[in-house]
Each structure stands twice: as structure tokens, then as C-alpha cells.
Symmetry: D2
Amino acid sequence: MTKGIKIVTIGGGSSYTPELIEGFIKRYDELPVQELWLVDIEEGKEKLEIIGNLAKRMVQKARIPIDIHLTLDRREALKDADFVTTQFRVGSLDARAKDERIPLKYNVIGQETNGPGGLFKGLRTIPVILDICKDIEELCPDAWLVNFTNPAGMVTEAVLRYSNIKKVVGLCNVPIGMRMGIAKALEVDPSRIHVDFAGLNHMVFGLNVYLDGVSILDSVIDSMADPKNEMTMKNISGLAWEPDFIRALGVIPCGYHRYYYKTGEMLTEELEAAETVGTRAEVVQKLEKDLFELYKNPELDMKPPQLEKRGGAYYSDAACSLINSIYNDKRDIQPVNTRNNGAIASIPADSAVEVNCVITKDGPRPISVGDIPVAARGLVQQIKSFERVAAEAAVTGDYKTALLAMTINPLVPSDKIAKQILDEMLEAHKQHLPQFTQTIKA
Amino acid sequence: MTKGIKIVTIGGGSSYTPELIEGFIKRYDELPVQELWLVDIEEGKEKLEIIGNLAKRMVQKARIPIDIHLTLDRREALKDADFVTTQFRVGSLDARAKDERIPLKYNVIGQETNGPGGLFKGLRTIPVILDICKDIEELCPDAWLVNFTNPAGMVTEAVLRYSNIKKVVGLCNVPIGMRMGIAKALEVDPSRIHVDFAGLNHMVFGLNVYLDGVSILDSVIDSMADPKNEMTMKNISGLAWEPDFIRALGVIPCGYHRYYYKTGEMLTEELEAAETVGTRAEVVQKLEKDLFELYKNPELDMKPPQLEKRGGAYYSDAACSLINSIYNDKRDIQPVNTRNNGAIASIPADSAVEVNCVITKDGPRPISVGDIPVAARGLVQQIKSFERVAAEAAVTGDYKTALLAMTINPLVPSDKIAKQILDEMLEAHKQHLPQFTQTIKA
Amino acid sequence: MTKGIKIVTIGGGSSYTPELIEGFIKRYDELPVQELWLVDIEEGKEKLEIIGNLAKRMVQKARIPIDIHLTLDRREALKDADFVTTQFRVGSLDARAKDERIPLKYNVIGQETNGPGGLFKGLRTIPVILDICKDIEELCPDAWLVNFTNPAGMVTEAVLRYSNIKKVVGLCNVPIGMRMGIAKALEVDPSRIHVDFAGLNHMVFGLNVYLDGVSILDSVIDSMADPKNEMTMKNISGLAWEPDFIRALGVIPCGYHRYYYKTGEMLTEELEAAETVGTRAEVVQKLEKDLFELYKNPELDMKPPQLEKRGGAYYSDAACSLINSIYNDKRDIQPVNTRNNGAIASIPADSAVEVNCVITKDGPRPISVGDIPVAARGLVQQIKSFERVAAEAAVTGDYKTALLAMTINPLVPSDKIAKQILDEMLEAHKQHLPQFTQTIKA
Amino acid sequence: MTKGIKIVTIGGGSSYTPELIEGFIKRYDELPVQELWLVDIEEGKEKLEIIGNLAKRMVQKARIPIDIHLTLDRREALKDADFVTTQFRVGSLDARAKDERIPLKYNVIGQETNGPGGLFKGLRTIPVILDICKDIEELCPDAWLVNFTNPAGMVTEAVLRYSNIKKVVGLCNVPIGMRMGIAKALEVDPSRIHVDFAGLNHMVFGLNVYLDGVSILDSVIDSMADPKNEMTMKNISGLAWEPDFIRALGVIPCGYHRYYYKTGEMLTEELEAAETVGTRAEVVQKLEKDLFELYKNPELDMKPPQLEKRGGAYYSDAACSLINSIYNDKRDIQPVNTRNNGAIASIPADSAVEVNCVITKDGPRPISVGDIPVAARGLVQQIKSFERVAAEAAVTGDYKTALLAMTINPLVPSDKIAKQILDEMLEAHKQHLPQFTQTIKA
């Protein structure tokens, strides 16, 4: 390409955007972004302008010729794009707060990407993503869709099954966070740590860990089994694993596994938080408000350090790094969400998985892991079943299918409670679930 | 074979035995049993004698030359056997009562074959079955092992993985009960109903139902969705399914699926029962006591009708029918537990499944079903993972592996509670868990 | 069904038809055929009338109320049919003679269903079958298509991949012939012999053989290894196997395997025959001429014994038996060509295989065999690859794809010779290959 | 490792060794080889000394402290080795000449790694490799075995199935040769070309080709379809592909595919060569003689340019590069022979394949390719079947299994000719087939 790169970021008004800008600035020499289009919707117009102005100041300070465009017209932005990144949130943090609060009324985990909350985030998000896919097909058919909108696994599954887009990668900061956490715990440079990731989004395991190529899995597990010394992630509970359980499991779970292997304790913790500091969405709403106040400051021309508290660390770095490797055919290894293609034996070849891939200009190529250990496998398979039914419900807007997804979710204790939660959440989110309009009435 | 058939029934003092005797008597013309050895252990001696005497009276009345032998010496009995049936209960109903009561203390389902109770029944039973397999290898290597000791799926899995016995079939009355229930609901002769069974033991689905070869699946599901008209089984709860859930599932669950799809309600019901009528084991203990009083009556020379209340209906009929089809190479179709061999796509080929098979003299041949629907699949895969880890724990006596099995069981809410239940149950059952002696101390 | 059965036989003027009539007459009590429509094309009109008159005499003699209809109008016949059987030959025996003679010029096997001849039979037949499928969809969507037109495996593959018809079964007399041959060699009633068939059409293996349910595989192989005592089939060479080869193979090949495991000798034999008695088609042409002379005789009111010399023994019996089992939901076991569905591990689940199935009203259900032995497997997989490419060539009429199919066929020695044979055969058969008209010119 | 690397090269007296030495010298900075042990057998003593002296001169000239050890005592050499490379030839080129000449008598391809010749090379080589594996287990259990002894695919299969060694990689120069050939044809730097390799050793396909990450597959195939412009390899025939065949195949075959897709022409060419210049082994014998004369020259202190004519180009470079990537955990991509592990869908997970891998300190990790196109797949599967049976014959020394392998090889026209060739070759090679001694007599 002699022309510079055109990148479109849908949900450009997100508080994460400054990190993305920083990432593009840092990599400009090898990844010459010429146009960056930040797209948002009417409700996000104010934020988009705040972010857009900050972005322009950052670029100016770096003396880099990236043109920043702000628009509410997605189709205008998409024309001839090279990369489309998605980081929007249908219904904003208000919707997430409902995803968290409503299930808790029924003594069920309320969480952004797991349980009923994850299902509803999928129901709201998937139709929008599929609309974007149609626009991409028409307006920039050669573009790569780099999705970091959650639930990223379910979204990637839906795009693989229900769109004509082949060039899609789902991205998450959980694997990179695990790697960084291990490096930090060992006090070594992260580049010396390699982890064999395999599983699903927010359900990924580290099957092995290497320091300079030599397995250190056992000692990492030992340190995780030591309650004083474990690795965790900012936006989920730091509850310690039962030492003998984690030793017998023999692989490294991610933080979100706690919702399944420590359901009881996580629920207790959520209920307490909901009555005191608020749910995670409510906490984040405050953080975001403060962040946007900072962003408004016309003196600010860099990513403020406060952003790192927001959660989502490494997200944008992961995204820039992925785009860079695709653009430059780097053939390095990154964990992403993509079509399994046989890499994990017990997941269908045509399903989305989160797995280490070689990143090429032609997309990610998953590295075969054979299989994940038998004890870890069943839960992964069950969540994959759930994700597929959830994606179908999102696409069809069929009430019964949504109830099926809700009931088979392992965090939901019964078909009856599933129906109660479903009905309340359908009502609460109806503004963002146009596909269910008919079935809700019926 | 010119010689008559030798059958050995381990756990011969069971209250079910009279039904088995009745089955052999009925089929004598095509299945000429010459010797029936009823084997039990010292603690079961009295029951064995009661049953043995009743059996002799039944045979005498039928004027059929079956020799009934009673013995506490298993190895003496096994010599040159043609079929070995297993229907014993390690630790008797007292142990089952603990399996039911202890988890309830932790607000966890207490059940014979599911959850912590199922795990412990497996831990107690599998080593005994594997000992029997070694005896069979030595004393009657051509015999078929027909297991109806629960948990039959886990037991079959363990025999396939950890013994040298190839001739093993696991048997359960759930599928036949489902078929009979449908026939009864439709008021047709059961021979006109055919069900495509596939899944695991106590986790089997009816993928389709036929009346005279024509699918009636939709109308059966409709009637299950009608709370006034559903089909159920005597020994588990009759709670009705959410109509829209069962319709969306699109296949027929078995009664035990309620523990997973209605966990909350089942737990409530169990807790109430435990405080009032007692757990199922406690109820059965009373029924059994009454039954044995009946059996003692020297005038009784037939299976008393009261046995049918005991649960386990069709069990012995299923066993006799299976033995008959093997012996006579009938090549009819029966649902049994056997090596999957590709019949169900998403279960490993070398794992035990419950599936329709053609029954030949050379054993069951599973009929390919392709796959079970995606919504039903994940739970089946998860339980299979659990069963494999549980079997490994039973064989190795490794504490950590047992904790792993307990934690990944979908009815157990956390690793911490898993450890508490595990520790209490290991202590309670230590007499019947010799393989754990060292690890319990350590 | 209260109405009687309507059967449509496409290619009704075939010399095999009297056997089919006999089959329906024999089974009338359980399979009450009310209408039998014999359909043929203009060129076959005379034969159709001869056969039709004989059929009417046979039915009359049997005093059975089957209405025999003769027509050249396929669509008229298909209306509301219950079963459609296909036994036509596009281009008649003249075309087959070309399939046999042309390859021989290049020192390549010339055979009806294998090598270049098999490919061209597929190219001629598949488009006609797919047309029939479209008519069935429209005129009798509930009908079963029972295909015995060769190459039956390739045809079934094509119907599964390129039509909307689900109710299709491919039928061949090879397995039944093998079973009958074994029974005859052992001088036992065929009902006592069971063979585990698995593979592809004309490439099926007997994985095991049972007499009264007990394996006699080793002794059958021993007798096949004895050149004086082998089992064979009338319409292919009787060349003996190398004893040590057949012993090491460990399964029973069908007669057609000789084209692959004895290519050299088969070619020599074919070349000799072509110069003396003529190719098989030429021999059959004479036999057929004589048969039709017999059939014309207005005194003849039964299947003449001379038909058995024709080859194709058991074909019609297999067809009647299959139709009977479907109609009456017999759930007996028959080897047919159907969707694999996991029954044979190393063949894709969605490909056609020839395998033992339980025959139900809802169609054949394959019995899982796990896998065929490694030594036998590779050839089966290679032929399946060929069949799929051949079917694609037949459907698309693409010259390059046809060349690809010809070249990868293991009987064709090189891409260059493949092109020569392809070009000559396309020219020779152009009348029956309308889909290639453009590419042939281009 | 603070200690330097110890490398053992079995078959150190090979004419290829100078290239290996050159490779280690070039890479010394990142791959500090401290000891290089060249091992050979008594018959190779003279060559070993010639090579050893040249190697010492090369190292001396480069002023690199690699200690060169020459020995006939393999076990002494293996002690504590880090890498073991194998490049020996059982029976030397004399045996290869027999592998080439004997089949030609029967009008069958005589070739080093394909057909009867490949089978016998496997029969001679595999037992020696398995002996080396046992020594490695005992003397240097952490060492990597890097095998470039042919037939490398069959050898890797045998090591995976019949030894306890897990750290084994099979290596071949065919893929690198294809990549280099493409680069040369396009006149671009090879580093800009990437090929997706998948298949088996000497049966590998280029599924796609990229220039700077952009697919150029179609234009590469176009140029291969142009007889004036094709890419080939020095040691096999340069016969051109049928343009329409190669276009329809849609992937890039390797040179050895000509033995299967152009069997007839290759045979003709071999027969002509055998009568004129001699078989390939005979030609190479002369080349080698000249090379060793050059090597003897005490002035020579570098790899002489004449070596490149020998064939085997890039072999040693591939080996050094592989060792380097393992040692330094480079995680770059190289095509090697390793356990499939699901990377190629239609080959068993536990079989050896040749496929692109990420090379880590922990060994190669295959990159999932999904599947190879259906037309190319069947032949690959058939050769894999052959390789497995051949490996079994090599290990067991069973005559019947050897006959089975010979017969199912697609280059052998019949079981009868298979037996004739087998018998003659067993006799001719009996000195190097100790495992067959008994069966040959019997």
C-alpha cells in the first residue's frame, strides 16, 4: 500500500480511546496511520468531542500526521477503511448496571460478560455488530474487523456464523494481563514469559508457562496455590483458589473462572458490593466521569495515568499490536479470538476460540494445542454451547431460544428462575432489543 | 453351547433379585439358565438367605430346573460364569443416606448418583467393580459383565479405562422408563414406541420419539410442556418444566436432568423432605424392611406386587432382556452404556455413553446419532469430564483429584465448599474408601 | 397409510425388472403395493413394453392386485409416489462398452464403476439423478428414493451434497452377494451369517463375519487364502488373492478391490477378453438380447432362471427388502449407502458410505464401526476423495475438475494419460454429457 | 545453559557434513556449539576421517572453538548430548541402488523414498533409529533428536509410535527448496516468500503462497502450468504438469508428487536412465567419489561449491536453523515433521505430518491448517496408511505385514508383483534386515 492506513473506531467516544491513540503514535514508524475516524452515536456526541479533541492534541504533540475525524455517520467513516475496531457499549454503562443488578435480585451472579448479564450484553451487541458487518461488506470489503466489544467470544462466534465477513478477530486483554501478571510476580521482563493460551474468551486457560522457553508451570501454580502470592486482575475479585484444587487442575485459570469455580463466594461478594460501593458498572461510571473531566482539560495532551485504574489495561496495546502484526505480516504469536480450525480438539472446528495464533497479513493462524485437560474441558464445552444458543437468540429474537440460553447457563439455577430473570431483563432493556419487540409482546 | 447358562449375581441379596428371577423364569425357553449364583458379603448374609429361599420357591413353582446357589465366596461363584450381573451397594443404604444428608448441610444437592453423593458412590463402588473385573479375567474370561450398580455411567467409564475387561455393558432403567411412560401417556402398547436415546447414564436425552415409526416428538414435547400432563419417574421429583424451555430444548430430558435445569427447586424439595419424610435412602430403607418381611413368608412364591413401589422398575427386565439378546444374538435395539465409538460426535470415541445399540452375541454396537443438539450438548460434555476425573480419583485414591472432581461438578458452588463437603464425606465413608486411607491422614 | 403403496421404477424397461416384480409379489402380504409405475425413455420404449407385459402376466398369475403402469412421462408417474427406485443406464450398454474399451487403448482398466469408466458413468448419471430429485421435491416430497443405478456410491454422495432430498438410500448387491457367498461356501443357511460391512460402494470390506453370532473371520480368511476355495462374484474376475496379503489385511475385501490390489492382472485379463469374448458390456448385451427374447414369450409368467446369469443377483431382492423394512419400520440390519454420520471414523460425517444400518421408517441409521483397519483405510479415503471431485465435475460440467478427478483416480497412471482418455471419452459420450457442451468446445 | 552445546551427528562421514559445519560456524554467535561429535560405523571409517579433517580445518579457519570429535562408538558420543542429528544411510548408496534397480525389473518405480524402494529404506532404517532412541533415553534423555535420514516421514512416524522419545523432529529440504524455487522464479528475496506447507514428508503441498503477506497462489500456479517456466528440484524429474490438472488441483505439489500423478512418465524416464547414465544412486556414487577426493585436499578449508550439485541443498541449513530456533526459543515458523495434533484435520492427531510449526525450546507447535483440499487429501491419507503399515513391518519383521505394506503402496500394481518384488528385495538386502531373518527363512 502506498497510501497510508485508514482506521475506523466505532465507539470512538470511549474512555479507552486515548490509549489507542497513544498506541498508534508509538508505532507510527512501522504502522503509518493516515486517517483515524472516531465514530459514535448521537447520545455519545459530547464524549466523542472531548475524546476527539484530546486525540488531536496528542497527535499534534507527537508531531505525527494522523488525521483525526469525528463523525456520527458510520457509513461515511467506513468507506475504504483498512481496519475497523469496535469498542462500543450498547446502552452504555447504565445497561451494564442493569445486567449486574437484576440477576442479583434472584441471588444469581450479575456480571458484564457472564451469566444473565453476559447473555443480555450479547443480545444487545450482536445485532449491531452484524449491521456493521453488512456495512463493511459493502463499503470496505477488504477491511479487518478488530472487535474488542464484549462479550468478545460470543460476538466472534456470531460474526463467524451469521455474517459474510471472514476478516474478523476478537480481542481481549485477559491473556495479556495474565502474562503481565506472571512477569510481574516473577519480576522478569514480560518478553521472557510465554503462555500457551487455549479456551474461550473470558474462559481461557494457560496450559503451560515458560520463562525463556523453559516450563515453569509447576512453580507458577504453586505460587497461585499460596494465598499470599496470587495473580489476579483488577476488575474481578481477588478471591484465592483452594490450593489443592488449583494444583489438581494443573493449568492456570483466568480471573473469570472464579465465577464458575467459586460461584458462591463471588455471589456473596457481589451482593455486598451492590449494597455498599455499588456494582462494578456503578463504580466505573464514577471513574469515567472523573476521566472525562480530565480529558476536557485543553492542556492535557497525553493519556492520563488515571486511565489505568479504569480496568481494561493492555486492551488498546493489544489492539495496536494486532493491527501492526497484520499490517506488517509479522508472524508473531498473539492470543486472539478466531475460528478454531482444529487447534483445540474438543471444540468444533467452526467455532470461535481464544488461542495463541501466528498473526499474518492474511489473519490469525491458530497454533494446535491438541486438547485442554479433561477436568478443564467440560466447562469450556458447556460455555461454548451456551454462547452458540445465545448468539442464535440474539440473531433471531426468539423468546424461547433466549430462555434456553438463560437456562443452560451454568450460573442460572433453574428454568423457572431463568424465566423470571429473562422477563425482567427483556423489559428493562427493551429499548436496545428491537429484535425481541414482537416476542416480548407475544 | 450345549451346557446351560451360568449366571452370577453379585449383590444377590438385593430386594430387586425376585424381579430378576421372574425375568429368567419367563424367558427360560430361549434363555436356559442352568445355574444362578447369588453372591453377597458377610453383612448381607441374612438378606441373601431370605432372597435365596424366595428364589428357590419361585423356581420350584415354575417347575424350571434352575439351580440356585447362595454364597459369600465370590471367586467360587465366578468360575466359568457366562454372565456376571452386579447390583451391589457398597455401604448399603446407610451410605446412601450420608450421600444425601451431608451435601444438604451445605445447601448442595444430596443425591444418589449426582453431585457429591454421586461422586462418593463412585469412589466407593469403582474399586470393588475393578476387583471383580480382575476376578473375571482370571476365572471366567469369556463372561459378560452386566453392571446395574450405580453410578452406572461412571462405573462403565472406569471399567473401559482401568480394566482389561472388554465384555462389559452398563444398564439403567431410565430409558426404558421413559419409553414406558410415553406409551402409558399415549395409551399405546410400548412396542409401538421407539425413542432415539443418546447421552450419558442419568443424563440421557430422547432425541426423537416414534409411534409406529412416525415421529411424534413435537406432540410429546407439547404434552411435557403442559404441567398437567407430564411424564416422570417415581424416584425423583415430579416438578414440571418451564414450557418454553422444554420446547426450545427440542429433545426429551430424563428425570435426572431436573437436578441441573431445576437445581434450585430440587434443592428446596430435598431440604423439605429431609426434615419431614426423610431422604430417599431413608424412605427406601423402610420400604426395604417391609419387603424383606414379605419375602420371608414361606408361602410367597412369586415377586410381590409391592416391589414395584421400590423404584427401579424395569431394571431386572432390562437386564434379562439384554442377557437374552446377547445369548441369542438377537440383534435387537436396546439403550445401554457402552464405548461410544463415534456414535455421538461430541463425546470421545473411547468414553462410555448411553445410547441405542444393536445387541449381538459379540456385544452392543452403538447406532450413530451424529450429535445431540447444541443446547443439550454442553452439559453432557461437562458431566463426562466430571465422570472421568471422578473415576481417576476412585482408582488412584488421590485427594487432590477427588477435590478436582468435586469442584468441577456443576452442582457444587465453589472450590471452598467442595473441600468442606469432601472432607466431611471422606471421614463419614472412610470405612468404604480404603484407597484414600493414606491421603485422608496426610 | 390406508391407501396402498405407489412405487415408481425409473428405468423400468431394465432386464432386472422381473426380479423386482417377483420380490413385490412375494412380499405382498406385508408390503401391499397398489400401483407400480414403470418409467422409461423413448429409446427404451420397446423394452418397456416387453417388460411391462411380462410384469402384468406375473402379477396376474399371482392373483395379486398390483396395477402395473407403463409410461414415458416421468413426472406423471412420480405424482404422490411412496417409493422411487432408479435402475436406469444413461446411454445404455453401448455407453458402458465405450467406458470399457476406451481406457483399454491406453492400457488403463476399463470398467463400469471404477477408473475412467466409473468416472464417466458418474458424469452421465448424476445430472439425471439430480433432475429426478427436483421432480421428487415437487411431485412426491415424502417419497423415498432408492437408487440402484451405478455408480451408487458416487450417486448417493451427489444427492447428499447437491440436492435437497434427504430421503435417499443407495443400494448395491455386493454386500448381500458376499454374505451369500460365505453361506454357500460354509453350506449354512444365509440367515445364520452376519457380516460387519463398512467402506464405500464397490469398495466395501467385511470387517468381521459371524456364524450364529460367533466370529469366524479367521477361518473365512483362511479359506479365501486358499486358491481352490475362494468366494467371488460372477461379474468380475475370479483371480485369487496372495494368501499372505489377504491374511495380513485381516478383513474381507469385496470383488472390486481386485481392481486396486491386482491392477496388473485385471488389466491383462480385460485386454484378453476385449480381443476374444468382448468386454463385459458386450457380453451382457448378448445376454440381454436373449433375455428379452425370452421375456417376449406370452406364455412366460415368471422370472426366468436365465436372469440369474446376468449378474446383479440379489439386487432386486435387496431393494424389495429395503422398501419393506422402511415401510414396516422393521429395524432390521441391512448394508446400504447413506450419510456416514460418524459411523466410520476416518470418513467425513457428511459423506456417503456403505455400512450396516438399522432400517427404520425414518430411514437407515448407520451402526458405528469405529474405524476400518489402517491398511484398508487409505484406499477407501482416496476413493472417497475421487468420488467427491467426480461428483463436483458431474454437477458443474467443468473440464478442469473432470481432469482432476481422472488424474487422482488411482487406476490412472498420469495427468497426461488422464487428459488423453478424458478428451476421447468426452467426445465419445458427448451426447449424454450436456453439461460439458461448452467446456468441450472451449 | 552456561555450558556450551554438545551436538552428535550420527552418520558424520556423510558428504553433507561440511554444509552442517558451515552452518554451525555461521551461527556460532547465537548457537555456541562447544562439542561436535561425528559418529560413523566401521565401514565408514575412512570417510569419517576425511570429513573430520576437513571439519577441523573449517573450524580452525573460522577461529571458532568448536571441538570436533570423531568416533565409531555411538554410545560414547551420545553421553549428555544436547542435540542428536541423524543422517546415516543403512547399506550406503549400494543399497539405494538396489532399491532403485530391483523394482524397475518389474516395471515398477524404483526410488529412494517412494514405492518399494522407500519401503525397504524404511525397513532398514527404522530399527537403527529405534536403537538410537533407546540410547538417547539412557544416555542423554533431554536431547533433541533431529532426524534427516530418509524416509523422514516414516521414520518420524515410527519414533512417535514405537519409542519413548518425545523430543524428535523430522527434517526435509523439500519445503525449503520449494520456497527457494519460488523466490528464485519471482526474483525476490526468499525472506519475502511464505508458503503454507501441509502434508507428509515427500508428499507436502503448498496450500498457499504469499509475497510480503499477500497471496500469490494463483500466479504461482499459472507459472507452474506454463511448461517453460516451472519450478522443480534437482534430484527428481523436471517433467511438466498438465496445465489444467495443476490449475484444478489448486495447491502446489512437491516434486515427489510426480511419482503419483505422472507415474507412467516417471517410470519411462527411470528405465531410460537406468540403461544410460545409471539410476540416481549410481550417479550420486560418482558425485560422492569426486567430492571425497576434493575433501581430502589438505588445503581445502571450506565447503566446496561442488557440494551443491549433490542434491540435498538446504538440508544442513534447515537443520542448523531448526537447532538454533529450539536452542534460542525463537518461535519462528519452519516446516518440519512432527505429531499432527489436529493441525491437519483428515490425518490422525497422533500421526507424523509435515507442516509449518512454531519452533520453541519445547519443540515444534504445528499451526492449524484445517484441511487440505479434497482432491489432494486422498493420496495423502493413502500414503499415511502405507507409512504406518510399513513402520509396523519394520519393527516386527513380520513377512505378511511387509507384503501388506508393499501391496497397498499405490505405485505397486498388484499383490502378486508385490510378493515378487518383496522376495527379491528381502534377499538382496538381507544383510541389513536382521529383524526378517526368521521370516525370510520361513
